[in-house]
C-alpha cells in the first residue's frame, strides 16, 4: 500500500496561554481503512496576473478522498493568489502562505481555480489522489 502522511504543528500566542496543536493523518482512499492514495501530481509554476486558471488540468474522480497542498512561494508579502472552487471564493494565499485541504471535486464545476494578484506569483502544489480521467489525445 502506498503511504502518504500529512502532519501539522500549529502554535499561537493569541490566547491567554500558548496554544500548540499537532496532528498527523495517513491519507486513505475514500471509504477504506486499508488502501492509501496511490497517485499524485506535483508542480511548481509561475502564475501571471490577469486571468483565472484551473489549478488541476484533469478533474480527479469526483467525491473521492483527494488531498490538495498549495503554497504561494512569492517572497513579496503583498502578492497573493485568490482561490475559488466553482464560483465560490475560498480565500487568499499571500506570499509564504500554504493550505492543505480535502479536495472533493464534486463535479465538473468543482475544480479549484487560482488568480494571481500583485505580480507574478510562484506556486507549488501537490495533489494526492486515487485516479484521474485523462483527456484523450487530439
Amino acid at each position: 500500500m502506498a503511504t502518504t502522511t500529512a502532519a501539522v504543528t500549529l502554535t499561537s500566542d493569541l490566547l491567554s496561554d500558548n496554544m500548540s496543536v499537532t496532528a498527523s493523518t495517513t491519507c486513505m482512499k475514500a471509504g477504506t481503512t486499508a488502501d492509501g492514495l496511490d497517485q499524485m501530481e506535483y508542480g511548481y509554476l509561475d502564475l501571471v496576473t490577469g486571468d483565472e486558471y484551473d489549478l488541476i488540468g484533469a478533474t480527479p474522480t469526483v467525491s473521492k478522498a483527494s488531498k490538495l497542498y498549495l503554497k504561494n512561494h512569492s517572497t513579496d508579502e503583498t502578492y497573493f493568489i485568490a482561490i475559488t472552487q466553482g464560483t465560490q471564493a475560498i480565500g487568499k494565499l499571500y506570499g509564504g502562505d500554504w493550505m492543505f485541504i480535502p479536495a472533493d471535486f464534486h463535479d465538473a464545476a468543482g475544480e479549484i481555480a487560482i488568480t494571481a494578484n500583485g505580480g507574478t506569483n510562484k506556486i507549488c502544489y501537490a495533489l494526492f489522489h486515487e485516479g484521474i480521467t485523462l483527456n484523450a489525445s487530439a
Binding site: 503511504t3 502532519a7 497542498y69 475560498i90 487568499k92 509564504g96 500554504w98 479536495a103 472533493d104
Partner: protein, 140 residues
Amino acid sequence: MATIATISVSSDIAPGFGGISESMTLTQAGTVTDIDSTSGFQIRKLSGTGAVDLVTMANELVEPKDSVAAKIFIRNIGYKGVTDKSVGVTIGVNAEPIGLLYGGDWMMMPLTCIDADDITATPATDDTVVLEYVMFYEEA
C-alpha cells in the same frame, strides 16, 4: 511567538519525491504584521447527517475583516478516542462542498470571512463525530 503553522508531508507514491516541509507565520494581509484575532480553539460534536454551521461569520463576537488573510484549521477527531477512516464529514463554504474530512484527517484553509461564506459541516452518517477547529483572522 506569533501564530505559526508547519506542514510535513511524506509519501512513497512517486519515486524520488522528497516530501514537503513548509512553515508559515500567519500575518495580516499584505504585511508582515502578525494576525491579531482568533475564534479560540473549539470543538463541535455532530450526531446527524444534517448540515450545520461550524462557523457563522455574522455571529463572531469580534467581527472578522472580509477578504483578507484569514485561515481555519479543522480536524476530525472521531469520538471518544475512536476515529473511523472510512466515513467523514463534508466541509463546505457557503454550501459549496470543499471535501470530506475522514477520521483523523485535518485541513488548513484560507477564508474570505464574508458573512455569506459560513463554514459548514455535513457528516456522512449518524455516527457521532467531533470536529475541533480554530480560526485566525483580522479584526474589522
